[in-house]
Assembly symmetry: C2
Homo-oligomer: 125 residues x 2
């Protein structure tokens, strides 16, 4: 059973808003998204509806309006998306992605230090 529903790109933006803080009314979501998108409020309401249908979020009647909140955790979704991404692109293996991208990406010395600490911790498990 696939715990988490398929969440599209646009829907994902809405989820991020709700994950960062919820419950929020449709208007609050619209406001939050105005900053970095130019979506019509109608569009955002459509996305909210679709996410409700998909049972990615839900809502409660707060006073006169709906207040939306996630029912799937960011963690679950990130994990699931990453897994399907890895499967698709790298045949499911995590290390090739790491190797590939560690080489490509610009990481600050601090980042590198942090990652090494994590790796050290893992060796001790």
């Amino acid at each position: 059973m696939s715990q988490v529903p398929q969440i599209s790109d646009a829907e994902w933006e809405v989820m991020k808003v709700l994950w960062s803080s919820s419950p929020r009314t449709a208007n609050e979501v619209v406001e939050a998204l105005e900053a970095h998108t130019d979506w019509n409020p109608k569009t955002i309401r459509t996305l909210l509806s679709r996410l409700v249908q998909k049972q990615a979020i839900s809502y409660s009647q707060e006073g006169k309006v709906y207040a939306y909140f996630p029912v799937v955790s960011e963690d679950e979704c990130v994990k699931s998306e990453t897994a399907s991404f890895l499967k698709r692109i790298y045949g499911g293996a995590f290390k090739p992605l790491l190797v590939n991208f560690l080489k490509e990406e610009k990481l600050s010395p601090e980042d590198i230090k942090e990652l090494k600490v994590i790796l050290d911790d893992k060796s001790k498990e």
Copy 2:
């Protein structure tokens, strides 16, 4: 200009076949995919056509049939897909993905060693 076209999940499987060895005729692609998919040959031909339209692949008349080959490199595509994945899920930052997944994934001691070596090399740059 987005160098690489959008390649869907199903199309990606076809690309992988052609990246692994090309040119190949439609039939050869079908054969290669029979192993791990149950797609109808007609479906695979549709995917080939769409990839031609998208200019992800091209073909030449080899004898009596077409021989398909990629015109976009796997590297480009992987890079582009990974970038859009990162943007979507992690807001474009690579490190959070790393941190998240280094914690989650089971990596062998050898893997960890290898990754540390890469990180060490990077510190020296």
